[in-house]
Symmetry: C2
Amino acid sequence: MTNDRRMPGGDGVPIQLVLGGGSLLNQVGRELRTVVDGMLAPYDLTAQQAALLLSAARQETSPNRLAPELGTDTAGMTRLLDRLEAKGLVRRRRHPDDRRSVVVEVTGQGRALVPRLAPVFGRASARLLAGLSEEEVRLLTALLERMLRNLRQDA
Amino acid sequence: MTNDRRMPGGDGVPIQLVLGGGSLLNQVGRELRTVVDGMLAPYDLTAQQAALLLSAARQETSPNRLAPELGTDTAGMTRLLDRLEAKGLVRRRRHPDDRRSVVVEVTGQGRALVPRLAPVFGRASARLLAGLSEEEVRLLTALLERMLRNLRQDA
DNA sequence: CGACAATAGCTGTCACGACAGCAACAGTCG
DNA sequence: CGACTGTTGCTGTCGTGACAGCTATTGTCG
């Protein structure tokens, strides 16, 4: 690496990393989700829905706290919860102390699913990362986190 | 790397890489697209739309060839083209030799935009990859491609 | 030629994301 | 107490993605 701060994006650069929805980054992310969705199809759940169940079953929480965790906003949470509630896997209750808040409660039916959902993410992860060394996974994670900071930081 | 096939996904592993839409991978991809969308907002275009214009302006092509390039299917292409056609940036014509096919033609208005769109992806790329060495970018790309193969290959 | 499989696009449906605007409620402070 | 401000969740709108099913054509082959 040369002395000056290289700007890999500046010149004859892997634009494919960025171009439209075909971006390699997007591609991998999307196809990963599709694969997980496929593995969850038997349970009639999407990756989002399963992730929410796992998270909410572990600890009572609110849409507000779940949203960033699931990578969406409160609007998306509203609808996600709508769908899960319609399936009877989740219930919404008013928070007793702060009536603006909602308590997300996983029903018995929802809880029954949890033990089967958790391994799915493990298997998906295994498939995604097959053949990668732990070192590579660490590196990848670090790079992704740096890029995320880059995107969020500067205007 | 040890001798046995390590399965980094098998054990105490970065499930966050996979979990729901909050997956780090998805997160970076989505936020990247959001950033690009923001940079393209002055032109009233999304990342997809701009990417299509760039690609179609370079070479006459068909929805069928554009779809995988933009990371979607022909159904998505139909609607994407609908929107661009509505904005007058693109025109659809029947292919003279194969009447099943459509020729995507960028209008003069669309062509006028192209020179301003290209740099946007460069700048987005620069921002995403700020502080990463070329070596790291290469590595990242290689890892992403390996993961993509992993996802596509095995059932 | 006539049946048939394959291909290209289109349409309908469902689930996200991002964004903007809104209503209810909470906390603060004059 | 009463106005102000911030927070929380909901709704409406737009643009993707993924999938399934349909139609118009083509190309192939008996």
